[in-house]
């Protein structure tokens, strides 16, 4: 019985310590401003790996999600004779919810896991330690560029996701199902507000980008430096960041649209 309580206390303390280390890492990575001349090429490289290479999966899934929304919305709305509203349904659900959340989930799977594995392997092969040996701060050289790259590319990917999704919905609704395209776009423009919907979606994506990259970088930096430890850390990255994104999405939605 006492053993059980002790193990509970141990788990709680180590979780708390992990949170503390994560916060410390965040502050150090953000405060550690590398010299901009040295930082820029590193940042470009990470933006390429994290942002550009995620573009394909984002565009393809955005197009298909938009098309599915158009099709489903049409089959439901046609019963009420208001199939013109499919435009606003597709645009609102994409811009407010689906684009930030699905982009963040895909990003966690595509880029977050790669970040964790890369940093974890660096730690396991003692590359991080050798950086410290030659007097280069690994937080500046390794962590900070990756962190900023995730933070910058997530809103860009989210906005691209929205636009491609709306076009996918328009192709299905206007071209295939024959909704008059004037009322499709006019209803959408009537219903979507730039500040209320578009900017709130972008704010959501900025928060998600921050959280997902933070978790990915921390899990890699904090992993047990063995092959098993890296695999566990990668799994934890995907699981924790997905849960964090979905939970935070509810809170943000309640704050932004719930009139709480």
């Amino acid at each position: 019985m006492l053993d059980w309580i002790q193990s509970l206390g141990h788990t709680g303390l180590s979780r708390l310590a992990a949170f503390g280390r994560a916060g410390q890492l965040l502050v150090q990575a953000l405060v550690a401003k590398p010299a901009p001349v040295m930082m820029f090429p590193l940042l470009v490289k990470q933006l390429y790996f994290v942002g550009v290479l995620s573009l394909i999966i984002i565009v393809v899934s955005g197009a298909f999600i938009g098309m599915v929304l158009g099709l489903q919305g049409y089959t439901i709305l046609v019963d009420y004779g208001s199939e013109q509203a499919v435009g606003q349904m597709v645009a609102l659900s994409l811009v407010r919810e689906l684009a930030p959340v699905v982009t963040a989930l895909l990003f966690a799977g595509r880029a977050g896991s790669a970040l964790t594995a890369e940093i974890g392997l660096m730690k396991a092969t003692e590359q991080l330690a050798s950086f410290e040996m030659i007097g280069v701060d690994p937080l500046r050289r390794i962590i900070a560029p990756r962190f900023w790259a995730g933070f910058i590319s997530m809103p860009i990917l989210t906005v691209i996701f929205s636009v491609v999704g709306v076009w996918g919905g328009a192709i299905v609704a206007v071209e295939w199902l024959g909704i008059y395209d004037g009322s499709f776009w006019a209803n959408m423009q009537q219903a979507v507000d730039f500040r209320e919907d578009v900017l709130n979606g972008v704010i959501k994506s900025i928060v998600f980008g921050f959280v997902v990259t933070w978790i990915a970088v921390f899990e890699g930096y904090d992993c047990v430096p063995t092959s098993e430890g890296i695999s566990q850390a990668t799994t934890r990255t995907v699981v924790f960041s997905s849960l964090a994104v979905l939970g935070l999405d509810f809170i943000l939605t309640a704050l932004m649209f719930g009139e709480l």
Binding site: S82, Q189, F194, V198
Partner: protein, 152 residues
């Protein structure tokens, strides 16, 4: 060379993101670069405004000519007073125009429809539309129908 292709592709990503934001702003949320610009204010009192809200559209013959900018209760007459802003280029509404609260479609939102009158004088900033017709409230309609049935 490798660095250069990387930088170019990152540049394209940034450009694509910026373009997508512009498309979201202009094409999807219908934000106009010209801005709301000027307009003149016209007031109208209604017995019941139903589901009318601020930013509901004001239209004439189905064409949008302005939007509702404020709604309040007139405490003297105990009626709803609606302030709407009509675009400046719509300067041909006569003083005896009438305003009705209409519904677009069966489940659609409510808007104000303006029907122009025959007077030569036009509405100016701060004028009031006198001839108004309230929103159609389904419960009242059902109530009247039942009342007629009973009295038959």
């Amino acid at each position: 060379m490798r660095m250069r292709t990387m930088e170019i592709s990152v540049g394209f990503l940034m450009l694509a993101g910026f373009l997508a934001l512009v498309v979201l702003a202009l094409n999807i949320s219908g934000l106009s670069l010209a801005g709301q610009g000027g307009g003149y204010k016209v007031y109208a009192r209604f017995e019941n405004i139903g589901g009318l809200t601020v930013r509901s559209k004001v239209s004439m013959s189905g064409v949008q000519i302005g939007e509702v900018t404020n709604i309040r209760i007139d405490t003297d007459l105990l009626m709803a007073e609606v302030e709407m802003t009509i675009r400046d280029d719509v300067d041909y509404l006569s003083t005896d125009s009438s305003a009705q609260i209409l519904t677009s479609g069966l489940l659609g939102e409510q808007y104000i429809g303006i029907t122009p009158g025959a007077e030569d004088e036009t509405l100016q900033d701060g004028d009031r539309i006198r001839d108004t017709q309230s929103a159609l409230v389904l419960e009242e309609l059902v109530g009247k129908f039942l009342f007629n049935k009973v009295s038959e």
